[in-house]
């Protein structure tokens, strides 16, 4: 079986983001990027399944600019076998892609790759939309389980048992493959890439596909049809120092005063 994992290039979790002078974008010139931490967990999960002998190939896919090659290489360094970069360079010059456009693009890749299982991070830490995975499953008509904290494939490789972290506790579901699973923090702790792994990564196959050639966007009227536009960014107001109150009554009064209750 083949497992496909999707990864996104996101600003490093420690990066301090600043709004650019135009107010419509973020300064990215001087910050470090990484694989979206949840996607890194997805890669790890796929590798563990492969190492357990239940999959033969792990393919990492990203939709992004040429620079996202770095994150694909990072996934290959961890142990993924092959990378696919869907280059959205031309599109991005015109505008950013919205969730549905990305979902369409990924579905097109998945349809041509035919994996038995797609593993995705439950969200991307930069825009936190949580949208793409459910959209992909819907577009493909596949069963999906989100927020997995445990993923086990059956011996015959026909189904997957997934434990989901839901508000009320844990939910166990069984999916018929092919299926899509999104992973949560507690499912595993991603490995560090080994030095030889990093060095071998560059010699692993990495295909670049131009997004225009993929056809996934055709029925959305092409790339020019993003439904979402970023209008502006604002920095959070600086945090005010907290106050100490000495009784419940004072707390209630303080909350009332600020019109918080």
């Amino acid at each position: 079986m083949k497992i496909l994992v999707t990864i996104k290039r996101t600003p490093h979790r420690d990066a301090r983001m600043r709004v650019a002078a135009d107010g419509k974008s973020l300064e990215t010139g001087d910050i470090a990027f990484e694989i979206n931490p949840f996607d890194e967990i997805a890669v790890e999960e796929a590798l563990r399944i492969k190492e357990a002998g239940k999959a033969q190939e792990v393919v990492a896919v990203t939709v992004g600019l040429e620079v996202a090659r770095e994150q694909l290489l990072a996934a290959l360094a961890m142990g993924a076998d092959r990378g696919i970069l869907v280059n959205s360079g031309g599109a991005a010059e015109k505008q950013e892609l919205d969730s549905l456009q990305i979902a369409k693009t990924l579905s097109a890749v998945i349809q041509s790759e035919q994996p038995g299982l797609v593993i995705m991070g439950k969200l991307a830490t930069d825009d936190e939309n949580w949208q793409i995975a459910p959209m992909v499953a819907e577009l493909l008509g596949w069963p999906q389980a989100t927020f997995a904290s445990k993923l086990e494939l059956s011996e015959d490789g026909k189904t997957a048992q997934v434990t989901r972290e839901v508000d009320a506790g844990l939910e166990e579901v069984e999916l018929t493959l092919p299926a899509l699973v999104t992973v949560d923090l507690r499912i595993n702790e991603p490995r560090y890439a080994s030095l030889p792994g990093i060095m071998k990564a560059k010699r692993k196959p990495l295909d670049v596909i131009e997004i225009e050639d993929l056809g996934g966007l055709a029925d959305l009227g092409g790339i020019g049809q993003s439904c979402v536009r970023t209008v502006s960014y604002r920095a959070l107001p600086a945090k005010e120092k907290g106050i100490l109150v000495d009784s419940a009554a004072a707390l209630a009064a303080a909350l009332k005063e600020r019109k918080l209750v």
């Binding site: 420690d14 600043r18 001087d30 770095e70 360094a77 890439a193 080994s194 792994g197 560059k202 120092k241």
Partner: protein, 594 residues
């Protein structure tokens, strides 16, 4: 608790923008060292330093090593961390690919080791010593020895040590007493006691490979009669299994001021079986090739701890509210301003930063020259590179560990009393950084090496590799008004260095005590000028890239450089005046009056 983040941006700056690391990938053997590869390696090394090594720094210091039933137990967590590190292939970064190494350039190694050392000096020393043993074997071992020992040393299955010191001999290795008796099968029986041996015993690896200096029976007296032997802790049967005890035992460990997670052992060799490394009686030469890289590594220790201390101090200076800014409150609705507003606190932070970034730049220069010396196709270029690296190695070692200690001390001072107590980890940096001024040849000995060996070598040939580029730079930028504030003080300090060099060359010939008395101040002067040259070059590059850089990186570079030129480089005047005063007051003081 201070928390360290690898200074990736500055590392990329020194590797690529300041010293053109891209050219290394063109050298035969370094083809892999392309920018994307370097980037990926630095990123992963940073993760390991920050997440695997750093969490054990404080706990390792508190617990220390324990000596139990004749063996050393390292602090909790060290073994797991070492295993993660070794299994990740990090112990073989610079090693010869023929024996399983990754063959990457030193320029990359120094950055990776800086991260590891900042995160946890004690822990990073164990793989560091294994790597040192690899260097020695690669350079001097027979093919047979290499086959037998390098693969497992490189992959970290086995550890390594350097056994030079004995109770009666530290600096003066001519006093070594350990003995080696040849046996019929070509091996040797080693007897003697070594002291202060770092990583001499521990529980991180299944075997430990000791490189031991000892005397053959017919050896000439003194330093010319020392040979190097490889002595494993456990014998190595031909089938590759782990053999029996080889007559090496740990007699105890030292209780130390710092690096408490690193074991410092007494080692007894009782009829231990050893193998000769290199040529009989040429052990010192073998040791010296290895010492250059080891000394560079110790210089990096100074810089690494200064960086870690700086990060802690800056964070604290932003948060600690105390006193008011002298020209009016900056945060009027808070009880006080952060101490970052105070001129004296800013002075301390900038001092650490100027030394640290300057040292990183200088280290990178030397490391890239070492790579050129190994791999450049043109023999002349190789020789020039080797000359520069030889000249600057004692400067990197001594200047960067002297200033490293000054810096960790300043970092503690920024915390006030909270730096002196253990909780914040700032006092550990002070204690840990102190040893770097002593081992691998005390800083006094580094100064003598610079003055006595490096200046004189081939009638001053080494020196030209430093003096010429500085001179050329000064000439090329004489009219550069943007760099004026840098060029002028650099020219002045460089003039002092030239005059001091001439003075030492003249006086030292007449009376060696003159050179000996001048050595430490001369090395300080050399270090100050070497950093000034790096700062001037960094400023030149940054001034050009400053405009439009919203991150503030280049602006901060230029500002830190100005601080260095105005407020640190003037020390060159004091060092110059001091050394020019001559040996008289030092040597004429009566011994009995001390």
């Amino acid at each position: 608790m201070a928390s360290y983040k690898a200074p990736r941006r500055d590392m990329r700056f020194v590797y690529y923008e300041l010293h053109d690391g891209e050219r290394l990938a063109q050298l035969p053997g370094y083809e892999e060292a392309t920018p994307d590869m370097i980037e990926a390696i630095l990123e992963e090394a940073a993760k390991i330093a920050e997440n695997v090594l750093q969490p054990l720094n404080r706990t390792g210091d508190e617990e220390g090593c324990a000596f139990e039933n004749g063996t050393v137990r390292t602090p909790a967590g060290f073994k797991e961390a070492y295993t993660t590190f070794a299994q990740g292939g990090w112990t073989s970064l610079g090693g010869d690919p023929q024996y399983g190494g990754q063959g990457l350039p030193s320029a990359l190694s120094v950055l990776v080791s800086e991260m590891l050392l900042s995160a946890n000096l004690s822990l990073a020393m164990y793989p560091g010593l294994g790597e040192g043993a690899c260097h020695a074997l690669e350079a001097h071992g027979s093919d047979e020895l290499k086959q037998m020992f390098l693969p497992k040393l490189m992959d970290g299955t086995w550890g390594g040590t350097m056994c030079l010191t004995e109770a009666q001999c530290g600096t003066d290795l001519g006093l070594i007493r350990s003995k080696a008796e040849p046996r019929e099968d070509g091996t040797y029986l080693i007897n003697g006691t070594k002291t202060f041996i770092s990583a001499g015993d521990h529980d991180l690896t299944e075997n430990i490979i000791h490189l031991v200096l000892a005397r053959l029976p017919d050896a000439p007296r003194g330093i010319k009669g020392i040979s190097m032997f490889l002595v494993p802790k456990f014998t190595i049967p031909a089938d590759g299994t782990l053999g029996s005890n080889n007559g090496v035992s740990c007699g105890g460990i030292e209780h130390k001021m710092g690096i408490r997670g690193s074991s410092t052992c007494v080692l007894n060799f009782d009829d231990a079986v050893g193998y000769l490394v290199g040529v009989p009686n040429k052990g010192m030469r073998a040791m010296f090739t290895m010492m250059n890289s080891a000394r560079l590594g110790v210089g990096v220790q100074g810089l690494a701890l200064a960086e870690a201390s700086y990060q802690g101090a800056v964070e604290y200076a932003r948060e600690r509210l105390q006193g008011r800014a002298l020209n009016g409150a900056q945060l009027p609705n808070k009880p006080a301003d952060p101490i970052l507003v105070h001129p004296d606190v800013r002075r301390m932070l900038l001092t650490i930063r100027a030394y640290t970034e300057g040292a990183r730049a200088l280290t990178m220069w030397v490391a890239q020259e070492i790579d050129l010396a190994h791999k450049h196709p043109d023999p002349r270029r190789r020789r020039d590179a080797d000359d520069l690296a030889s000249l600057l190695t004692p400067v990197v070692k001594a200047f960067q560990t002297d200033t490293g200690f000054e810096c960790t001390n300043l970092g503690l001072q920024v915390f006030g009393g909270h730096g002196y107590i253990r909780e914040h980890g700032m006092e550990q940096y002070v204690r840990d950084s102190r040893i770097a001024m002593i081992y691998e040849g005390t800083n006094g000995i580094q100064a003598l090496d610079l003055v006595g060996r490096k200046l004189a070598a081939h009638t001053g040939r080494y020196l030209r590799q430093f003096f010429h580029p500085v001179q050329e730079f000064l000439v090329a930028h004489a009219e550069d008004s943007a760099l004026e504030d840098f060029i002028q003080p650099l020219a002045k300090a460089f003039g002092r260095l030239q005059r001091a060099t001439g003075h030492i060359a003249q006086q030292g010939l007449k009376n060696p005590n003159e050179a000996g008395a001048a050595a430490t101040d001369y090395l300080r002067l050399f270090g100050l000028v070497a950093l000034a040259y790096q700062w001037t070059r960094m400023a030149g590059i940054s001034l050009e890239k400053m405009e439009g850089d919203t991150s503030g990186f280049y602006a901060a570079k230029v500002a830190t450089g100005r601080f260095y030129m105005e407020r640190i480089l003037p020390q060159s005047g004091a060092a110059f005046a001091t050394l020019m005063a001559g040996a008289k007051t030092i040597m004429e003081f009566p011994d009995e009056a001390f």
